[in-house]
């Protein structure tokens, strides 16, 4: 079934650059599966563009990448995109996945109380390890992929028509699989040190529904 997906992808520092590139993989898959993708990259990841597109296309789900805190998800250059000060009228009945720090703590519950169908996010900082020598080619960074592949799975599962709860579970299964692989096989020092942070992201990923 064809769905409409809206994605924000700011790109202005190391963390957002990694999320910018890794979320491209999801966009490509969504398009390949026949979904309509509305992409707000870099400077287009601003509040005016976000609200304008929401009104126009009424997406089924929204994939937010970037920085965040308990109350806010940010776009390009730390412009607030969604906060607990918003009415959330534009987001009613939508599914939001916020790949940003801590927004699952207060913004998530607030959104769901205001009519968002589901909010998947993190109640603590989303941490990942990367190799700075690959900073200009983030998709070649396998260590970062240990974190960003499982988190991408939230969206790829939703695209396939599964529920937010199922998307959250499959993503956590992928995190766990990476952790177990690193603990039980010969692995590089770089990757072995990722285990504690993979566990952290998995543990603090939440799926909030009505």
């Amino acid at each position: 079934m064809s769905q409409v997906l809206l994605v924000t992808r700011p790109n202005y520092d190391a963390a957002t650059t990694y999320l910018f590139h890794w979320s491209k993989l999801v966009l490509q898959l969504a398009k390949k599966k026949g979904n309509q993708v509305v992409d707000l990259p870099a400077s287009k990841a601003n509040k005016a563009d976000l609200l304008g597109r929401l009104q126009k296309i009424n997406p089924k789900f929204i994939f937010l990448n970037g920085h965040g805190n308990d109350t806010t998800v940010f776009g390009q250059d730390d412009e607030a995109l969604i906060t607990t000060k918003d009415t959330m009228d534009s987001f009613k009945n939508m599914i939001i996945y916020s790949r940003s720090c801590s927004s699952g703590k207060r913004l998530g519950p607030y959104s769901v109380n205001k009519g968002v169908k589901a909010f998947i996010g993190y109640t603590q900082p989303f941490i990942f390890i990367y190799d700075p020598s690959l900073a200009t080619r983030p998709l070649a960074d396998k260590t970062a992929g240990l974190f960003l592949d499982p988190s991408n799975m939230v969206v790829t599962t939703l695209i396939k028509g599964h529920s937010p709860t199922q998307a959250d579970k499959r993503s956590k299964d992928a995190f766990r699989k990476n952790i177990q692989k690193l603990l039980t096989s010969e692995t590089s020092k770089e990757n072995a040190s990722a285990v504690r942070f993979l566990f952290w992201d998995m543990k603090h990923q939440v799926c909030l529904t009505v």
């Binding site: 190391a14 720090c101 990367y130 700075p132 956590k172 699989k177 020092k189 942070f197 566990f199 799926c207």
Partner: protein, 83 residues
């Protein structure tokens, strides 16, 4: 009294520092909007005890507790924080 010695916060800090030292030096750790840090920068933050240092201590302790409880090898989906 169960006879077990309580671990002090200083001992916890030493434990985390020693574990962090085993991390490779060439990688960076992105902690969202707080920035990206090298191993040495994180070590300094744990030693200083600032907010990022405290967060790293929390990461390590949660992981070690989970290892002790066997949570790491639980069936997939054990952490379905669905509300």
């Amino acid at each position: 009294m169960d006879g077990r010695k309580k671990i002090t916060s200083e001992e916890i800090k030493r434990l985390v520092v020693e574990r962090l030292k085993t991390m490779p030096s060439g990688m960076r750790i992105s902690i969202g909007g707080q920035g990206s840090f090298s191993k040495d920068e994180l070590l300094a933050k744990v030693e200083e005890g600032d907010s990022i240092g405290q967060e790293i201590i929390q990461v390590e302790l949660e992981y070690l507790r989970a290892l002790k409880k066997g949570e790491i090898f639980n069936e997939p989906g054990a952490f379905s924080n669905t509300a």
